[in-house]
Subunit: 432 residues, 2 copies
């Protein structure tokens, strides 16, 4: 740290990235929006700098499978140094952006500062605990690979511990799992854990009465998958019930001390609570407060430009592009982020050539969620279906969307293995 | 903890494992020896209890590939609950054995105690720092999956940090790697890191002068792979030199403060030092001190029985079965442990039927080490060869030896990918 202070400001601005004649585009965040923006700049004549606090893109839609021993961590991650290897002027730096100094056209990170010509904020969303400190302290979030691995470790370790205790109450707490939030992530997690309990646990933990383990899915609203169709909500609930998940709707979680989940209904003993209750935009400091929505998103116009700034754009979960159809901004979905990333690449190239910016048009490709073997729900525009066909569509879409050929192959093998053998092999507790 | 104290001794002895008419065999450690013992008890009429502090077997010969981004962690691990799923009376418990009370035929763990009829100690070996505290504190060992992942994280993180500093001395320290110990593990690590530097780094870190990164392999003895043939030693040295590794033989490491490796020759700046300098037996307390060798191994007779004990056996790296040919015990190799595991299964079954024990006979199947693409050394009894043929033999043997079909398949894909693409995809820094 002392050494850094001695460095002069100009030095910190370079990070070894030379200013060339090309315009410098700085992208903050290598999620879906950032990655797809980059991939579409392959042939652009722009200097591209990507900054992320991790060195990999995370395929968040499959994190729940990492958390439930279905996939290895590496299969849902993709190195951020790789996408533009053939671009003559692409630079990745692993740092955390702390502040945007729009007046100076500079971003300040935990590791120094960097000037930009254009800045794209694609920082995504972070877990929102709605200010409940006890939940933030004891519950497990699931937005990154390491968080998913912590869930895997906790569930497996608790089952191991359940075999070593003679206190039946303690054993009950160790084998119960509470999932907070009945959105797609919560529903997929609940289904996957329920299948783990049904197919793996009785074989693995023959000594334990795994029937006694309880899985709770707690949702504040009167239905699961509230953002999807009524058919999808009803069917996902039915599927989860078939798998033995206890669904508590219209139930509010008040606190969690690591042992007891306190709700406005009953209190539930559980040493594992996974929090998928909500997200808010992960916006960096320095943007005019008036542009930040209640959900922590940055207001942008239809071209993605942050209102009142000439060189700053926002994309994906952190951006709120308000339209007549979506007065609170587009839904925080991977498909929106991917489309915005591709769109922004086009606009950046136009801008660098002095052409006017185009407005973003969202094409709704539908939404889907999987609950278990041959159990999924799909809402396409004008077509809704559930069951085995929906499950096959889900598998295909996710396999196809995964970044990197090797990741697809490894994922395919894992899925085929699970399907044939009713087994999951990545049941590894990595101790620290 | 308070609850545990209130439990009565008899309860602690059960862990829910009922005493049946079958004899109870307790095995401590699920490494090569323990796992292969268990796998050969499939049809035995014995109650089998395996205790390990981890829930997985670790395929240690390939840990170096996890450490160098070549393989995902899960591919070298195998769930210990799985091998005897069809056995009617197999129990796995995740605990750490602290003490053997041979007088009572009981083992005491960090999670309670358990009685045994027969006890097999297969606790393997742990990293030996030869009492040098500074090395123990700052160097990275590599005996488990989490330790291998820490090496991966450190190397990748240091390269990321090297791009964020403007101090050339700091950058040099961040990009240097020192490997202590020129045995098979050190040689394989050095080769793999050198290939990573040659094939991946220039593409990934185009901004960095990766040519300046130095890889040192430091060995106390006058040759590498001292346990192998002179041809293997000479050839492995040549291969490493071709890959640009700086080899320092007859060099003793005196201390390491996390920045500078102090040797009896020059001092080397490096923020990464991996310690493969030695191991000692990881024996539990309670065995008569006179039976513990200088290397921390437990003296056993040719049947594996610990001298002076009727019901206690020792196997694998922790056992020292002294013969005329091997006066200091068999070498601490996976192949010895595998053979002893299989042998012990036979003896246990004989013993349970009242038959006399057989002596162990080691069949030397040879040793091998790989340095890089088409570069390996193989010593078979009566046949020594090196190069591409040795490399193919190494690949085949290791793929075949991996436990679990899925692990083999995933490993095969990773290897094929690396071979064709000169690439390694598991370059993920998992932050905590």
């Amino acid at each position: 740290m002392r050494k850094q202070k001695r460095l002069r400001w100009e030095k910190l601005q370079t990070w070894g990235i030379r200013k060339t004649e090309r315009k410098r585009l700085v992208i903050v965040g290598g999620g879906f929006a950032g990655l797809h923006l980059i991939r579409n700049l392959q042939k652009s004549d722009i200097q591209v700098v990507l900054i992320d606090k991790r060195n990999h893109h995370t395929f968040q839609p499959l994190l729940y499978q990492v958390a439930t021993s279905g996939l290895e961590a590496d299969a849902v991650a993709y190195p951020l140094r790789k996408p533009l290897r053939r671009h003559p002027d692409y630079h990745f730096r692993m740092a955390e952006v702390k502040l945007i100094k729009a007046g100076d056209n500079v971003i300040v990170t935990n590791r120094g500062a960097l000037a930009y010509d254009y800045l794209v904020i694609a920082t995504g969303a972070r877990t929102n605990y709605f200010g409940i400190e006890s939940i933030q302290k004891h519950a497990l979030p699931m937005k990154s690979v390491d968080e998913a691995l912590k869930i895997r470790n906790r569930i497996l370790q608790n089952f191991e511990d359940a075999l070593l205790t003679h206190d039946p109450h303690e054993r009950q707490k160790l084998t119960n799992v509470v999932i907070a939030g009945g959105g797609p992530t919560g529903v997929e997690l609940a289904g996957s854990i329920a299948e783990f309990r049904r197919y793996i646990m009785p074989k693995d933990y023959a000594d334990l009465d795994t029937e006694r383990s309880r899985i709770y899915l707690i949702e504040l609203l009167p239905e699961l998958l509230a953002s999807m169709s009524d058919e999808a909500s009803a069917k996902s609930e039915l599927y989860l019930q078939q798998l033995g998940v206890n669904i508590k709707k219209e139930t509010k979680i008040l606190s969690y001390n690591g042992e007891i989940v306190e709700t406005d209904g009953e209190n539930i003993p559980a040493k594992t609570m996974i929090w998928t209750g909500g997200v808010s935009g992960a916006f960096p400091e320095g943007i005019n407060d008036e542009l930040i929505t209640k959900k922590g998103r940055i207001k942008a116009d239809t071209t993605g430009k942050v209102k009142g700034y000439e060189r700053i754009f926002a994309l994906g979960d952190v951006a709120s592009i308000e339209t007549d159809e979506y007065p609170n901004g587009y839904p925080q979905l991977a498909s929106v982020a991917v489309q915005q990333g591709k769109f922004m690449a086009e606009n950046i190239i136009r801008m660098s050539k002095g052409k006017p910016l185009k407005p973003f048009k969202y094409k709704n490709n539908g939404t889907m969620a999987t609950i278990g073997r041959k159990k999924a729900v799909v809402d396409l525009p004008g077509l809704k279906f559930q069951g085995a066909a929906a499950w096959l569509v889900w598998l295909g879409v996710h396999l196809f969307s995964l970044v990197g050929f090797k990741n697809r192959l490894v994922t395919f093998i894992n899925w085929a293995w699970s399907y044939i053998r009713y087994d999951r092999e990545t049941r590894l507790i990595i101790k620290d």
